[in-house]
C-alpha cells in the first residue's frame, strides 16, 4: 500500500475532492435539524435507541431500568472480595472526608473541603492509578461559562436543558450554570492560563448546541492545563493522597449510612479499611466498558467502579440508558482509532464531509444528533470513506479552519491535535481528518441533589459518576464545568458535615452480603466479578495461557 | 543603520533592566542598534572553564552559533555578537578564542550540537558595547547626540577586573584604559580619576563572604570620593550591584559616610541624550541617583527641543 503524506493512495482521491470543494464551501451553511428531525435520526441511528445493545437491570433499587448490556454486566456481577475476608475491626485510615477518585471532581472536592475548614490530615484522596490519570486531562475543547454581556446563565440554562432533551434535573442545571463564572474566576486566581485576545478578554468559541460563544479554552489542552494546576495545589496544600489504590467496596455504618471504603492496592494486592464520616465518590464514567462495542476516548481506568459500589450499597441511579458517543473520534490511522478529535475543531469552523467533499450535516448539532447523522451517512449511504482496514469514516475538514481564521490558527489553537496526527505523518493544516463516532461519556449515574447528597446518608458524589446534570445528552464544555461546580459543592458540603458532631459507629459490610444474596437469586449463567478496575486488552492466547497456569496451580 | 546581534545575559534581564533599556535606546540613536537574539541561553560564566570539560563550553558555543544565525536576519550586520555585561563578554571571548585555536575542541562540541542543528564555524567576534561605541560609532557622534550635557556630575570610572583581564578578553589597555574616561567626557561630565579603577569589587564573594566585598567597596568608594567624585560609572552588572548594595549596607552602620550613586555607562548616555528617565529603572538601585540628578538640574526640567 503506497502512502502519500500519511494517507494511502486510495484515500487521496477523496481528499482531492475535499480540497477542490473547499473554497465554495466557506460560506455554505447546512441547515440544522428541527426537534422532530433530531428525534428521527436519533431513533434510527443512535446506539442508545437500538434495543439489541440493551437490557433491563435485574436486581436492586433500579430494577427494570433499561441500560447498555455492558452496564448491566457489571451491576449483575459478584463482589471481587469476599466480605468475610475483611477484618473491619482493624482500621488502616481513619479520616473525616474520604474522596474516592482523584480526577477533576475529586481534586476540586479535596481543595474546597480544605478551603472550607476541613484540616488536611482529616482528608484522604484515593485513586486507582496516578493522581492525574483521569479523563479531565484529556478534555480538549473547553469549559462553558456565561460571562459575556450578550450572554447570561439563563441562556446557558436553556442550551443545557434542550441539549439534554428536557430530562435534566433543573436544580442541578441551575447550579451548573450559575456557578460557572465563579469557577473561571477561581481558576484565574490560581493561575490557569485561559486563552485571551490581545486586549485581555477571553477567547470564547461556540460548541455543539450552544446559542452563544462561551467556550473558554487553553489551546486544545484545556483539561490538562486546569488539572495540572489543581494537582499543583493539592501538593502545595499537602493534602494526603494514595495512588494505585482504588476503592472496591463501600462500608456502611452501624447507625445507617455510608461510613468508609475498602481500598485495594493493585500492585501489592493488599486491602485497606478506611473509616470516614463523609465519602465523596468522584470515580468518573464507563468508557472502558466499550458500550455497544465502540472504541473510546476515555482513560485506562474508566470502568464505572463507583457506580457499582454505590449500587450495592443501595444508591439510586438515573439516566444510565443514555450514553454519549462523541461524533468525531479518529477513524484513521489504525493506531489511534477512537481517540478524541476535539469538538473545538468544528467550533473553529471545520465541516463534516462525505467522500465527494460535500457537507453531510450542520457541524454543530448537540453531540448525540451529530453522531447519529454521521452513523446514518456511513450505514445507509455510500457517501463514506473506507480505510485499508475496512473502517468507515467521514472527513473533518480541518484545513478550512485556516481558510476562515488565517494561517497558523491550527498550530496555535489545536496543537495537541496537530501533534497527534503529525506523529503519523498527517498534516491537518493541509489534509482533512477521518472521523467516526466514539464512546465518550456516561450521561447518567448516581442521583444527587445540588449539594451533592445522594440517596444514601454520608455519601456524596460529583462529576461524571453522577446523573441528572446533563439529562440524556451532555453538551461540549459542560463536563469540565461539572467536575468543578459539583466537586466544589461536594467539598463545601463535606466541610459542613465536618462541623456537625456525629459518629458513624461500628463498620459493617451487610450490604455486600445482601447483594450477594440478591445475585444468587438471579442464577446467572456467567459468574462475573466487579468492579472491573482495569480493562483486559491482552490477546486471547495470553489469557488462555494464564487460565491454564492458574488451574495447574490449584 | 547597522544592526548588531545582541546577547543580553541573565543579569540584564532581571536586576539590571535599566542598564539594558538605556543601552537599547541610545544604540538606536547612534545608528548602531542592538537587536536581542530571538532565543539565547546563559553565557556559561557560572560554570568554571576548567580546560578538560567540554560540556561547560556548550553554552557559550551555542550562543555564538545562534547569534551567527541571528546575524543573517539583521540589516548590514557584521559577524559580531554584542554584549553589555563584562562577564558575558569575558566568557564568550575566552571560549571563542579557544575554539579558534583548537579545532579538536570545536569538533567535539559541534558533534554534541549537531542534533540541535547548531554548528559553529568560528566566524563570529564577541564585542562589548563599549568597543562598538569607541571603535565604530566614535565619541564625536556620541557628543553630537548629547542634548543634556552632564554638567556638575563628577564621575569616576570604575572598570573592575573583567573588562581589562585576561589578555584574550580585555577591551582596553589594562594599565591605562580610556574608554570610559573618553565616554564620560563626551557626555559633558567632569572626569575624576581614581587609582582604584580596577581594584576588585569582591565579585561572587557577595554570596558567601560578604565582609570581603564590604571592605573592597569601602576602599573603592572612598578613593573616588576623596578626589571629588559624586558618582561612579561602571560597565559590569555585578560590580554595579556590589558597589551600590554595599554602600547602602554600610550607610546603615557607619554614620557620616554619605554614599554616591552608581551609574551604568548606558544610563549616563541615556540621560545626556534626553531619553525618558523611567527607562533607567532607578527604583532598582539601592542608592537612588535621582536626588543628585535633580539637584544638578539634569532631570526634572522640561527638555529643550
Amino acid at each position: 500500500m503506497k502512502m502519500i503524506r500519511g494517507y494511502p493512495e486510495d484515500m487521496r482521491k477523496s481528499i482531492d475532492n475535499v480540497n477542490k470543494t473547499r473554497s465554495k464551501r466557506i460560506d455554505q451553511i447546512i441547515e440544522d435539524l428541527s426537534l422532530e428531525e433530531r428525534k428521527e435520526v436519533l431513533d434510527n441511528f443512535h446506539p442508545d435507541y437500538n434495543p439489541k445493545y440493551k437490557r433491563n437491570i435485574s436486581w436492586g433499587v433500579n430494577k427494570g431500568d433499561n441500560v447498555p448490556n455492558e452496564v448491566a454486566d457489571v451491576i449483575e456481577a459478584y463482589p471481587m472480595v469476599n466480605p468475610d475476608d475483611i477484618d473491619l475491626s482493624k482500621i488502616d485510615y481513619d479520616v473525616n472526608v474520604l474522596i474516592i477518585g482523584a480526577g477533576g471532581a475529586g481534586t476540586s472536592a479535596a481543595l474546597w473541603a480544605n478551603y472550607s475548614g476541613v484540616p488536611k490530615e482529616e482528608i484522604l484522596l484515593v485513586t486507582k492509578l496516578r493522581l492525574g490519570d483521569c479523563n479531565t486531562v484529556m478534555a480538549q475543547g473547553g469549559i462553558q461559562a456565561a460571562d459575556r454581556p450578550v450572554d447570561n446563565p439563563l441562556i446557558h440554562y436553556m442550551d443545557v436543558i434542550g441539549g439534554g432533551h428536557f430530562e435534566n434535573n433543573p436544580n442541578l442545571v441551575k447550579a451548573l450554570v450559575s456557578d460557572a463564572p465563579k469557577i473561571i474566576k477561581w481558576h484565574k486566581d490560581l493561575g490557569v492560563m485561559y486563552d485571551c485576545t490581545e486586549d485581555g478578554s477571553f477567547i470564547e468559541n461556540p460548541g455543539g448546541g450552544t446559542s452563544r460563544n462561551r467556550m473558554h479554552c487553553s489551546k486544545d489542552y484545556t483539561g490538562l492545563e486546569m488539572f495540572r494546576t489543581l494537582k499543583d495545589e493539592i501538593i502545595n496544600r499537602e493534602i494526603p493522597y494514595l495512588e494505585f489504590s482504588p476503592a472496591i467496596e463501600l462500608i456502611t455504618g452501624e447507625t445507617g449510612g455510608i461510613a468508609g471504603a475498602i481500598l485495594y492496592n493493585i500492585e501489592t494486592k493488599q486491602y485497606f479499611v478506611v473509616r470516614a464520616k463523609t465519602i465523596i465518590l468522584t470515580t468518573g464514567g464507563f468508557g472502558r466498558l466499550h458500550v455497544a462495542g465502540f472504541p473510546t476516548t476515555n482513560h485506562y481506568g474508566a470502568t464505572m467502579d463507583g457506580v457499582v459500589m454505590a449500587y450495592r450499597a443501595g444508591a439510586k441511579l438515573r439516566d444510565l440508558d443514555a450514553t454519549q458517543f462523541h461524533p468525531t473520534g479518529a477513524a484513521f490511522p489504525e493506531q489511534i482509532v477512537g481517540l478524541l478529535i476535539t469538538e473545538k475543531t468544528r467550533s473553529l469552523g471545520a465541516q463534516v464531509l462525505g467522500r465527494n467533499g460535500e457537507q453531510i450535516c450542520y457541524p454543530l448539532e448537540p453531540r448525540d444528533v451529530e453522531a447519529s447523522s454521521l452513523i446514518k451517512c456511513c450505514t445507509t449511504t455510500d457517501n463514506y470513506i473506507e480505510t485499508p482496514t475496512q473502517m468507515r469514516g467521514i472527513w473533518l475538514d480541518s484545513p478550512l479552519i485556516e481558510e476562515i481564521k488565517g494561517k497558523g490558527t491550527i498550530l496555535k489553537n489545536l496543537s495537541a491535535m496537530y501533534r497527534m496526527m503529525n506523529r503519523f505523518d498527517i498534516d491537518i493544516t493541509e489534509d482533512p481528518i477521518l472521523v467516526y463516532p466514539t464512546l465518550h461519556y456516561q450521561n447518567g449515574g448516581v442521583e444527587l441533589d445540588e449539594n451533592c447528597y445522594t440517596s444514601l446518608k454520608g455519601l456524596l458524589a460529583a462529576g461524571e459518576i453522577s446523573g441528572g446534570v446533563h439529562g440524556k445528552n451532555r453538551l461540549m464544555g459542560n463536563s469540565l464545568l461539572e467536575i468543578n461546580v459539583f466537586g466544589r459543592r461536594a467539598g463545601i458540603t463535606a466541610a459542613n458535615e465536618y462541623k456537625k458532631k456525629s459518629t458513624v459507629g461500628k463498620l459493617t459490610l451487610a450490604h455486600v452480603h445482601k447483594s450477594i444474596k440478591a445475585l444468587d437469586a438471579l442464577n446467572l449463567k456467567d459468574k462475573r466479578y466487579s468492579p472491573t478496575i482495569l480493562p483486559e486488552y491482552r490477546s486471547d492466547i495470553v489469557r488462555d495461557r494464564l487460565v491454564q497456569l492458574y488451574e495447574q496451580s490449584l | 543603520m547597522v544592526q548588531y546581534s545582541y546577547f543580553p545575559g541573565c543579569n540584564l534581564k532581571t536586576n539590571a533592566k535599566g542598564f539594558e533599556e538605556t543601552a537599547i535606546a541610545v544604540s538606536k540613536k547612534l545608528e548602531a542598534e542592538l537587536v536581542e537574539m530571538p532565543s539565547w541561553n546563559c553565557c556559561g560564566t557560572v560554570h568554571t572553564l576548567t580546560s578538560d570539560n567540554i560540556m561547560k563550553r556548550i553554552a557559550p558555543i551555542r550562543v555564538l552559533s545562534r547569534s551567527r544565525k541571528h546575524v543573517e536576519t539583521l540589516k548590514e550586520s557584521p559577524n559580531q555578537v554584542v554584549t553589555l555585561c563584562s562577564m558575558c563578554n569575558s566568557t564568550l571571548k575566552i571560549v571563542n578564542n579557544e575554539v579558534k585555536k583548537d579545532q579538536e575542541i570545536l569538533d567535539k562540541i559541534n558533534y554534541q550540537l549537531e542534533e540541535d542543528e547548531e554548528t559553529y564555524e568560528t566566524d563570529m567576534e564577541v564585542k562589548h558595547f563599549l568597543e562598538i561605541l569607541r571603535d565604530i560609532v566614535g565619541y564625536e557622534k556620541i557628543s553630537e547626540e548629547v542634548v543634556n550635557p552632564l554638567k556638575g556630575l563628577k564621575v569616576s570610572p570604575y572598570y573592575g577586573c573583567m573588562l581589562l583581564h585576561p589578555e584574550e578578553a580585555k577591551i582596553d589597555d589594562e594599565e591605562m584604559p580610556d574608554v570610559l574616561e573618553s565616554l564620560v567626557e563626551s557626555l559633558g561630565a567632569d572626569l575624576v580619576m581614581s587609582p582604584l579603577f580596577k581594584f576588585c569589587c569582591g565579585s561572587y564573594h557577595i554570596v558567601d563572604q560578604e565582609y570581603i566585598v564590604s571592605s573592597q567597596v569601602e576602599k573603592i568608594v572612598e578613593a573616588a570620593k576623596r578626589r571629588g567624585a559624586n558618582a561612579l560609572v561602571v560597565a559590569c552588572p555585578l560590580c554595579a550591584y556590589n558597589i551600590d548594595q554595599q554602600q547602602k549596607a554600610m550607610a546603615k552602620n557607619t554614620v557620616g559616610k554619605s554614599p554616591i550613586p552608581v551609574f551604568y555607562f548606558t544610563q549616563l548616555m541615556a540621560i545626556a541624550m534626553g531619553e525618558p528617565v523611567k527607562i533607567n529603572h532607578f527604583q532598582d538601585h539601592f542608592i537612588n541617583p535621582e536626588p543628585l540628578l535633580k539637584e544638578l538640574g539634569l532631570i526634572g526640567r522640561k527638555k529643550a527641543k
Binding site: I29, E31, L35, L129, G132, D133, C134, V137, M138, A145, D147, R148, V150, L154, M158, D159, P181, K185, K188, L190, G191, V192, M193, Y194, C196, G200, S201, S211, R212, N213, S218, Y221, E225, R228, T229, D232, N236, F244, Y300, Q335, I336, L364, A416, R419, M420, R423, L534, Y537, R538, S539 | C10, K13, T14, N41, C42, V46, M55, A59, Q112, E115
Partner: protein
C-alpha cells in the same frame, strides 16, 4: 475491491521487538502500548489516558544499529522492527511547596524553589528527549532570565512525563519549573476580564433568581417552545 485477497496479503505483517530484554513478535500496525498488551503484559503503571495527554507511558528505546537513546509516549508511537524498549515508571522529582498568592512573576520566585535552574549547562538534552517536542532548555533559560511569559508559553504543551528530568545532567525538574512559570504567568501577567468579575457579582446578588424561578415553572412543552425560539448571536445559521 471484490477481488479476493491471497493468503499472503491477508497475513498481518509483524515486527520483532524487545520488551525489557526479551523478544516478542507483534503486529507491525500496533502502538508500543498495544504491542506490549498483545505480547501478554497487563499495565498497572505505565498507562494512563492512552491518548497522549497524561504522560504516564514515557518509554525509552534504542533501535538496532543506532547508538542513540530515543524517547516516546508508548500510546502514541508505532512499533518498529528491532526496537529495544523499556518503560519508565514515574521519575521522582521533588516539587516546590509554595503559595502562589505570595509570589511575583520573576526569576527569583523560580530560583527560590528550584535553585538548581542556575545549574543549567545549556546542553539541550531535555529538548531532545521531549516527546512533545518542546524547547525545554529554552524555557528553563527564560525562567533564569526572568522572562516568565515566554517560559509559560513555550512550556505550555508539557504533559509532565518527566523524561526531561531524568536526562538532565544538572538534575533540574524542568516540568515542575514550567508548572510554576505558567501559574505565575496566568495569575500575574494575564488579567481577569472585568466582564467576568461583574457577572460573578450579579450572580452573587441574585440578579438571575427571578429568571430561574420562571424557567423552572415552565411546562415541558413551553420549555421546548422557548428552546426552539432562542436566538443565536455569534454563529451563522441557515
Amino acid at each position: 475491491m471484490s477481488k479476493t485477497k491471497t493468503k499472503e496479503e491477508n497475513a498481518t505483517p509483524t515486527v520483532k521487538i524487545y520488551i525489557m530484554g526479551s523478544m516478542h513478535e507483534v503486529p507491525a500496525s500496533l502502538t508500543i502500548m498495544k504491542a506490549m498488551e498483545y505480547a501478554g503484559f497487563k499495565f498497572k503503571r505505565g498507562a494512563g489516558c492512552r491518548a497522549g495527554f497524561c504522560g504516564a507511558c514515557a518509554t525509552l528505546y534504542r533501535k538496532a544499529g543506532d547508538y542513540r537513546i530515543y524517547a516516546a509516549l508508548a500510546c502514541q508511537t508505532q512499533v518498529e522492527d528491532g526496537m529495544v524498549l523499556t518503560q519508565l515508571p514515574f521519575v521522582p522529582a521533588p516539587k516546590g511547596i509554595y503559595d502562589v498568592d505570595s509570589l511575583q512573576p520573576t526569576a527569583s520566585s523560580i530560583l527560590k524553589f528550584y535553585p538548581e535552574v542556575a545549574r543549567c549547562l545549556s546542553c539541550n538534552a531535555c529538548s531532545k528527549v521531549c516527546p512533545q517536542e518542546i524547547q525545554v532548555m529554552d524555557y528553563v533559560q527564560y525562567c533564569l532570565q526572568g522572562q516568565i511569559d515566554k517560559a509559560a508559553e513555550l512550556s505550555f504543551d508539557c504533559v509532565q512525563c518527566g523524561l526531561c528530568a531524568i536526562r538532565c545532567p544538572a538534575e533540574i525538574p524542568q516540568y515542575h519549573v514550567g508548572m510554576l512559570a505558567r501559574r505565575l504567568h496566568g495569575k500575574y501577567n494575564m488579567s481577569t476580564p472585568e466582564t467576568l468579575i461583574e457577572r460573578v457579582e450579579e450572580i452573587e446578588n441574585g440578579v438571575f433568581e427571578e429568571g430561574f424561578k420562571e424557567l423552572k415553572s415552565l411546562s415541558k412543552d413551553d420549555l421546548k417552545k422557548r428552546y426552539i425560539e432562542r436566538d443565536f448571536v455569534d454563529q451563522k445559521k441557515a
